[in-house]
Each structure stands twice: as C-alpha cells, then as structure tokens.
Amino acid sequence: MGRGKKIMTGTHFMMGNLACAEGAIAAGCEFVSGYPITPASEVVNRLAKRLPEVGGIFLQTEDEIAAICSAIGASWAGQKALTATSGPGISLMQENIGFAVATETPLVIVDVQRLGPSTGAPSVGLAGDMVQVARGSHGDYQIVALCPESPQEMFDLTVRAFHLAEKYRVPVFLLADAFVGHMREQVIIPEEKQLEIESRKIPKGGNDPMDRQDFLSVDVAPMPVFGRGFKAHVTSSCHDEHGMRNLSDPEVMHRYISRPIDKILNHRDDIIQVEADYSGASIVLVSYGTVGRSARAAAHLAQAQGLRTGNVRLITCWPFPDREIRQVAESVDFIVVLENNRGQLYPYIKAEAAHACRIELLGPETLGQIHDPEYILARIREMIK
C-alpha cells in the first residue's frame, strides 16, 4: 500500500461526486476510465488524483465508448472497475453496457444525470435516465440501479454497487443526478471493517472452459478472469455455459437471454432496498433519489396537518421493486408517485398498483427541480377533494 489513505474514515463536508469517488476507493476499485462531462467530472477528476496514491490506474479515454470498453477489459483482467459519466455518455455507452450484461461482467457505472434530452442543461439535475439505464441497450437484459438521495448515500451506495456488481457479475448503476452530485453535505466515512466488501468468485481451476461452467448460471458462475491460465472464451455473441459462441441452437438462445436475467431476479430480495414508512397511512408518496427528500418533508407536513401520509423511497430502482409496490398498493388507498421527470417509472409502478388502489403521478412545479413540499401538499389536497 502506498502513501494514499484508502479509506478516508471520518466526518466531511463533501460534495456528492467526491463521496462517490471515495466510495469507489473504499470498495477496492483499482481501475477507472472516464471521459469528462458535466455534472460527473468531479468523480473522475478526484479519482485521477486518488487512484495512483492507492496503486490504481485512471485512464482518460478518447470518448465514453472507450471508457466503458476499457473498464470492461479491466474487469476481465481481474480488477474492480468503474466508469462515470452523465446522460450523453450513458447513451454512447449503451452498446457496450449490453456487452457487459451479456458477458456477465462486474462493473460500476456512475450516471450523474443532467437535464435532457440531448445536450439539454448540463448542470441541472433531472432524473431523466431512469428507464434508459435499464432498457437503453438493445435486446432483453437486467441490470441493477441504485438511487442516492444525499452525498452520504453517494458514498454508501457506491460501496454497495461494487458489492452487488462483484457478487452477481452484473453492471450496477449509481443513478445520481446533478443535484445530489454537486450537493455538499455531511458525509461520514466509516472504518474499513464496517464496510461490506465483496469480490467476485473465480473458478477453482481447469484450463479448458469446456470442463467448466463459466456463464449462464442463475446461481452466478465463477468468473474465469484473464491471465491466470483459464483459457476463457468470452463473447457477447449468443453463447452456451462454456462461453462458446452458438448462433444456431434456439435452446441456447433462450438460455443466453433468460439466465442472466433470472440470475438477478432470483436474488432480487438481496438486491432490492426500499425505505418504507407507511404504517397506518392511507396515502403513500412513492419516490426515489433526491425527490425522496421532498417527499419526506411533505409527508411530515401532511402528518402535522392530520393527513395519514406515508412514504416509500426506492433505493434500488432496478430490478424493479414490484412486490414492494404491490404490498403498498394493497394496504393503502392512494399512491402518489413523485418524479421530477415526465413520469419515467410511473408506468412500472402503476402496473403493480392499479389493481389495488388509486394512483396518480405528480411532477414538480418546474421540470428539473425537486418538488417543493408545500406544493406536494397543496396538490394532494386537490387530488383527494
């Protein structure tokens, strides 16, 4: 270990993006590739400085495509790898996000969302990539996405993102936005032993992939990382359990698509985290990310005024917490979904709730802002009139 402190244990007044960078270092990340972009640049700027201090490498690539490709390469070379960008970069990465999924590559992708579409307003936070991160690449697949509401969670959920990526061999998104990325607040970094850090399993041995099952296990196959004599065959063409390309057997195609999806869905209870506080409530506000703080404030206000209002915040947004939503819907009268976009997760939430309770979407006063709690309350009063 070098002179750099790996874990900056202590209390800091820290920008969310820097907390994310520190989370990556704390989780043992030693390879980061990235391309500058507002409002995510601080993540890579910081890591460019910090990584060499802890023995890691930072590569500024020629573009975002090279960023994700080299990060995937690094992951196959055995490193914990991360790349960080914002919407335009996520859009460019889509093809190779699919590659990471199809090859079951552990990878953390930080998306500090900005107001879009397209170039939009780079420094304004708007949770506009909520579905993009899960469905933006072609074909059928499943990723994991975590949504922080504060600089503290920028740290905590980055650590968790690595944990899940390594445990399940899957790309995990930290789905922040400009608002929380640039927000400064108290961040408490614990000691190393308090962090839950996991590294991928690798095969026990054998130098012929035909003797191993390197892919398509719903129980997560050990990962035959490069350079250790595993003679791994890695392709994102349709392949079988050994990783061997197969472009003709429909049964293999079926497994190629389904197994990596089911791998995640089968472990959804371990992956999904939802902050729920709605016992006794008849109205529940469902939200995620920074809007969650508006929701909590609004719920306090509403309760103070005698409205039995609860609160559900999706910390894990993908895999989608369908059962958790169903449970809410079946125990309350009215769900109000708060999103500061035009309602990206709303159809997914509604699909699980509409059978059991009333449900409405409530956007902010102005897109690109998080809702004013007073506004939420006023609108709810109108809705229930």
Binding site: T11, F13, T38, V124, S150, A297, H300
Partner: protein, 181 residues
C-alpha cells in the same frame, strides 16, 4: 426554527460557489451544525451565471432546496434579477455595490459592500471579492461563527493564499457599518 436559508449568486469566475462551500463547511466542520449546499451554473466558465444555496440548521436537513432565502448575497446585477424576488419578506440582501449599482429598493435590509473595489484596490486581488462578501455576511448575521469561517477559509485555500484571504475576510467584516445582530 433553526433553519437558515441563503442564496449566494454571481457570474462565473466570481467564486460565489466557493463562498457557499466555505460557509457550509464552517457550519458542519467547526460549528457542529448541519448544512446542505447546492448549486447551479450555466456552461460559460466566465460570465455565465453561478449560484449556490446553503441551508444551515441545528438538525439534519430533510428538504435540501432553498425556496425562500433568509439571506441573498448578490455579486452581480444578474443575480438580483434572478433571485431578489425569492427573498423572504424580512430577508437580508448583501450586494457587491461595484457590480450591483442599483439594487432593488423594496428590500427590508440591504447592505452595500464595494467588494470588487476593495479586492482590487486594497488587496490587488480581484478574486477575493467573494471572501470579502463572506466577511460582510459574517458581520451582518452570525449564521456560523467567525472562528469557524476563518478555519474553513484556511482549509479551502492554498498555504500561500491564506493570509490574503483572511485579510479579505476581515476587510469585508469591517466594511459593514451596522450589523443586524
């Protein structure tokens, strides 16, 4: 209620956001308070607008946005146009009077600090206007303690710039004739 909301605004390059960071950091690190700082800026690095919002509180901050600031610190005319209407009825406006020659007259408490001239003429360092304004703020209303602010300034600048910035802070502090509290 212990929650104080501040807006600090200017144009790119004036260091408004840094001023907010120092304030928040002082509150959290040296005054044992809670603080959230958020920000907005346009893509021009210089000349575009830049604003930061700070909520300082004795309790953890749930809602992090500043909607009706108690204090607006304006480093440019543009900041007035953008934000003076958001100020609370009895709010405080602190302006760099070099950059805001004609502040609105419908504001309860208004403080005019010629921060840019002070920075330029007394310190030969126009970039310190933001810290001068922070000194003024500290005198006008003790949102965080003077000691905490001074420590946070030292944390935020390089060793060589330390004294310059402490001087700036002091000049700003003293530029306020009649503090509020």
């Amino acid at each position: 209620m212990t929650r104080t909301e501040l807006t600090i605004a200017g144009v790119g390059g004036q260091g408004s956001i840094l001023a907010g960071t120092v304030l928040g950091s002082a509150a959290v690190t040296y005054d044992g308070k809670y603080a959230v700082q958020t920000q907005a800026y346009s893509s021009e690095l210089r000349g575009g607008y830049a604003a930061t919002w700070v909520v300082v509180s004795d309790e953890p901050v749930v809602f992090p946005r500043v909607t009706r600031p108690d204090i607006l610190m304006a480093q440019a005319q543009d900041s007035i146009n953008r934000f003076s209407h958001t100020l609370k009825p009895d709010g405080i406006l602190i302006v760099d009077s070099d950059m805001v020659p004609t502040p609105p007259d419908n504001i309860g408490h208004i403080f005019r600090i010629p921060a840019t001239s002070i920075a330029r003429n007394r310190l030969k360092a126009p970039v310190t206007a933001n810290i001068i304004m922070l000194g003024a703020l500290c005198r006008v209303r003790r949102v965080v303690s003077r000691e905490a602010l001074e420590k946070a300034i030292v944390d935020a600048v390089s060793k060589e710039q330390e004294q310059l910035n402490l001087d700036a802070f002091n000049l700003g502090f003293e530029a306020v004739r009649e503090p509020m509290d």
